[in-house]
């Protein structure tokens, strides 16, 4: 089931010229790994995949474009005017959805940048095909292939070394599938549980049964150790947060701890304590934020883990997607909390977070106040290496003549070209390594400058 260089599909790509040349060579800034360094030492990468096609035009709002409001009479996000229900201004072209408020400081600090119109090289309106192709970085392919993040993980320790990648939430996402070993933990609080291993008697009996030298026994013991450790790290992190929160509450006078009927703290002291608690991530995080916290904790404790993967669903808003409030706004709020959590845990000089979705949604709203499957979408990049506070690449607005098939945002940039910039900057991958991870990608010089050179 492995890709074959001489399969008809591959030949047809060659005929089309998509793979006609090695990606870049002359133009791109080539890098060499510093002596004495292990591959992927340069930084850490976290990929957040929004499954179901997030409506990028609600997240990154082209508020200055009159067509945007004409196309979306009921669901457009109002242009920024400083009030609560309007978009948050970034520059003269774009603004953020108000639910993405937690990202605004990152833009202002210059660590958040966008590529507003990226995507697959050709439209594919099937969620599962498009996601799969995005994960294997081989547009057009439907048969089995390793995920690109697995390919990158393999650079560090080959197929048998310790895991360099950690996935949270999915059993075996395609992006992490392949020969390199990866670590996978479940979504939510399940990751904090040791299951039957928590019982000493059961655990000992199982370890005795798997005491042999055969590969099965070795795998079981390794898995049991890894799971016990993950669960312990995650639950002790949680306990520490609880203790911090309780200590803070305990230091306060009773009166200050009381809340008004509407739930707001009664006194200024309580309010500041609440904010402090929030900044520690102390309010029990849910959803993506909890998964982000788990990812951050485990990757902090194991420095061999250089690649992280998270996903969030629920973006397929065909009907009633809402505007400043509503289902999409709620989902964006959850995402923003998750990304803010990631930024807290991944703010070392070499850390980068990328947020992407399989395709964008139609520029016009449909008859049910939602949007249908489109094409181009924004990619978000966050990290100290990102030359943020600005966006990159081509943007041609929403005038009818500039749309793909008269309906979608075009994908001016191959998503793999954005990833190539990222992998080159973060990990100094060679041309050959980039070609292996992202087959057929071309270096897109229009994106140069998006990330700092190594």
């Amino acid at each position: 089931m492995h890709p074959d260089l001489f399969s008809p599909r591959r030949r047809s790509l060659l005929q089309m010229g998509a793979l006609s040349a090695l990606p870049w060579g002359s133009g791109a800034w080539a890098q060499a790994l510093a002596p004495g360094k292990t591959p992927l030492d340069g930084g850490r990468l976290v990929v957040v995949m929004l499954r179901g096609a997030c409506d990028g035009l609600s997240a990154l709002v082209p508020y200055a474009d009159r067509d945007y409001y004409a196309l979306r009479p009921n669901i457009a996000i109002a242009a920024p005017d400083g009030s609560a229900q309007t978009a948050l201004r970034l520059d003269n072209t774009f603004a953020l959805h108000p639910a993405l408020g937690p990202l605004l400081p990152m833009w202002q600090q210059g660590v958040l940048g966008f590529v507003p119109a990226a995507g697959l090289p050709a439209p594919n309106r099937s969620h599962f095909d498009a996601q799969y192709q995005m994960e294997i970085a081989q547009p057009g392919r439907t048969s089995s292939a390793p995920g690109w993040l697995n390919q990158v993980a393999g650079l560090r320790a080959g197929a048998r070394g310790p895991a360099a990648a950690l996935g949270v939430g999915e059993a075996n996402p395609a992006i992490l599938g392949g020969p390199a070993s990866v670590k996978l933990i479940p979504r939510g609080q399940a990751a904090e549980r040791t299951g039957v291993l928590a019982n000493d008697k059961t655990r000992q009996a199982l370890l005795d049964l798997y005491a042999g030298d055969d590969s099965l026994s070795q795998a079981f013991r390794q898995g049991a150790g890894s799971r016990m450790q993950s669960a312990q790290e995650l639950s002790s992190e949680k306990t520490a947060a609880d203790v911090r929160r309780k200590a803070m509450a305990g230091d306060m006078p009773m009166a200050a701890r009381q809340l008004d009927r509407d739930g707001t703290p009664a006194g200024a002291q309580a309010q500041s304590a609440q904010m402090l608690a929030a900044s520690n991530g102390a309010p029990d995080p849910v959803g993506l934020q909890l998964d982000a916290q788990h990812l951050g904790t485990l990757m902090r404790n194991d420095r061999g883990l250089r690649l992280g993967f998270l996903s969030a669903g629920g973006w397929d808003t065909h009907a009633n997607q809402g505007a400043a409030t509503g289902q999409l706004a709620n989902n964006l709020g959850n995402l923003a909390r998750g990304v803010a959590q990631l930024r807290r845990d991944f703010s070392e000089p070499g850390d980068v977070i990328v947020v992407m979705s399989e395709f964008g949604r139609t520029t016009a709203e449909n008859g049910t106040r939602g949007t249908d499957h489109g094409f181009g979408n924004a990619m978000w990049l966050i990290g100290n290496r990102v030359n943020g506070g600005r966006w990159y690449g081509q943007w041609t607005g929403l005038a009818h003549g500039n749309l793909n098939e008269g309906r979608d945002l075009p994908a001016h940039h191959d998503y793999r070209a954005v990833l190539a910039q990222l992998l080159r900057s973060t990990f100094a991958l060679s041309d050959a390594q980039l070609s292996a991870a992202l087959p057929g990608v071309n270096w897109d010089r229009r994106l140069d400058g998006l990330l700092a050179k190594t």
Partner: protein
């Protein structure tokens, strides 16, 4: 794309894994120690030509494993020709296809109406009649199909065990994905009317039945392909995955020609037709597939092309390889693949004949040809040990386990089907979650004492030190139980 080196490394790793899988477990022992050669063979036969021994099959298979195995083929074929014993609450998945099509169409119409009435206010929408329940029909159909598969794989009074196995194999070979909205309500019907009746029949009949079922027509977009808007998806996978295999000599031009031949093969939801040949959408020109000329003959072109592809030596080889990997070893012995392939060609794809060759082969019984259970194998074998599905809770828990383990029922998105090798499924933390599932199941079942004879000495001794409730769980979570 893996380089030759990474692929080789993967293969090397798999082989290394398998050779060292041969721990004491399941090793045939002498009369003094209990399990005999027949016992190990019986474990292999019942676990591979089904999912696990039952008290009855354990006894019958030990009495004469090879004869027992051959009998299973005839029994499974006979069962495949009988109506499945569907419990009443699942009967809907086997309703006449046109009824399902009509119900699905009605569901979609209702959803459209709902959208038209839709209000931007979610609470107002929730108050609409039928709101939130718009896709209940499709969802129930998919859940019922999954429930059937679990009942069928774990209880010989519900379904013949080898027939359940062959159904798994062919469903995976001709995979469809229940997560695609248009496929969802049809999956159960596809299992029961395309896969099951042909699972031990002729391959080309099976292939043709799949080509004409809405589950496949929708899954690979054939339903949308027509002379003006050609969609090559199904035509490509028909050659690449269902028959010839990649690198077997066909070209992109052949994919296109096959897609042209199949134009007009579609579904008519509106008029309740699960399959229809729409002459109007058919490309009436001449076509050339793999050097063979196809003059315009409407639907007969497609039937001929599918039967032609099914009979090719490359197809025989591909099916033989997949069967041998599924039933014998992750890296199947080439000599066995050759023999299976020959039988396939000599009998025009008679699956029963190929299976007879397979279970008569010494390779099937060779102790060195180990297989590690997939999550599906593990879940079905544990349920079998529990005596089958007793209550809904077991179905919910088992489907949850499969999803969490990465092998959700009818849930593989791409047409290549699940992998079944140890390299894919022997993952460290996944093993500990099998133990969770085993312990959970063990809380509500009687101790399967009849399995003791199949356990290795050290495993049995260790388990015997514990009290009854833990013993059952340890039995199912033991390394011995992870192999088939």
């Amino acid at each position: 794309m893996p380089t030759a080196t990474t692929v080789n490394r993967l293969l090397a790793w798999t082989l290394a894994g398998l050779t060292s899988l041969g721990s004491p477990a399941l090793r045939a022992q002498t009369d003094t120690g209990a399990p005999s050669a027949n016992t190990a063979a019986a474990w292999r036969a019942t676990s591979r030509l089904g999912y696990a021994p039952t008290p009855a099959s354990a006894q019958a298979a030990q009495a004469g494993p090879r004869a027992w195995a051959l009998q299973q083929i005839e029994a499974a074929y006979a069962a495949s020709q009988r109506t499945p014993l569907l419990p009443a609450e699942l009967a809907r998945i086997n309703a006449p296809l046109n009824d399902i099509v009509r119900d699905f169409h009605a569901e979609r119409e209702a959803r459209k109406t709902l959208r038209v009435q839709a209000s931007p206010d979610a609470t107002a929408r929730a108050a609409l009649p039928g709101a939130g329940g718009a896709e209940v029909f499709s969802r129930d159909m998919a859940q019922s199909a999954a429930a059937w598969r679990l009942m069928a794989c774990s209880d010989p009074t519900v379904e013949d065990p080898l027939l359940a196995r062959m159904t798994e194999f062919w469903f995976n070979h001709l995979n469809v994905f229940a997560g695609k909205g248009t496929v969802r309500p049809f999956v159960g019907h596809y299992v029961l009317n395309v896969i099951r009746p042909h699972a031990l029949g002729r391959f080309e009949d099976l292939l043709l039945a799949s080509a004409q079922h809405p589950a496949m027509l929708f899954y690979l977009d054939q339903a949308q392909s027509n002379s003006r808007g050609l969609n090559e998806n199904y035509a490509r996978e028909l050659m690449e995955l269902h028959t010839l295999g990649v690198n077997s000599g066909y070209m992109q031009a052949d994919v296109r020609e096959l897609a042209r031949i199949l134009t007009g093969w579609t579904v008519n939801l509106k008029d309740g037709e699960g399959f229809r040949f729409a002459e109007r959408l058919h490309d009436r020109g001449d076509k050339t597939l793999l050097g063979r000329n196809y003059p315009p003959e409407g639907m007969a072109e497609g039937e001929d092309a599918i039967r032609f592809l099914a009979r090719q030596p490359a197809t025989a080889r591909r099916i033989a390889t997949r069967l041998a990997s599924f039933f014998v070893a992750d890296q199947p012995p080439p000599a066995l693949v050759d023999r299976l392939s020959k039988t396939f060609l000599a009998t025009q794809g008679d699956i029963r004949a190929v299976m007879r060759t397979l279970v008569s082969a010494p390779e099937f019984w060779a102790a060195g040809n180990q297989l590690f259970k997939t999550p599906m194998d593990f879940a079905c074998s544990a349920l079998t040990a529990a005596g089958g599905v007793k209550e809904r809770r077991e179905i919910v828990q088992t489907l949850g386990f499969l999803a969490q383990a990465g092998q959700p029922m009818h849930g593989w998105q791409t047409p290549d089907g699940y992998k079944t090798d140890a390299a894919t499924w022997l993952a460290p933390e996944a093993l500990t979650r099998r133990a969770d599932h085993a312990m959970g199941l063990a809380q509500r079942m009687a101790e399967p004492a009849y399995l003791n004879v199949f356990l290795s000495g050290p495993t049995r001794e260790r388990i015997d030190r514990e009290a009854a409730p833990l013993r059952t769980g340890l039995m199912l979570a033991s390394p011995d139980f992870m192999r088939k």
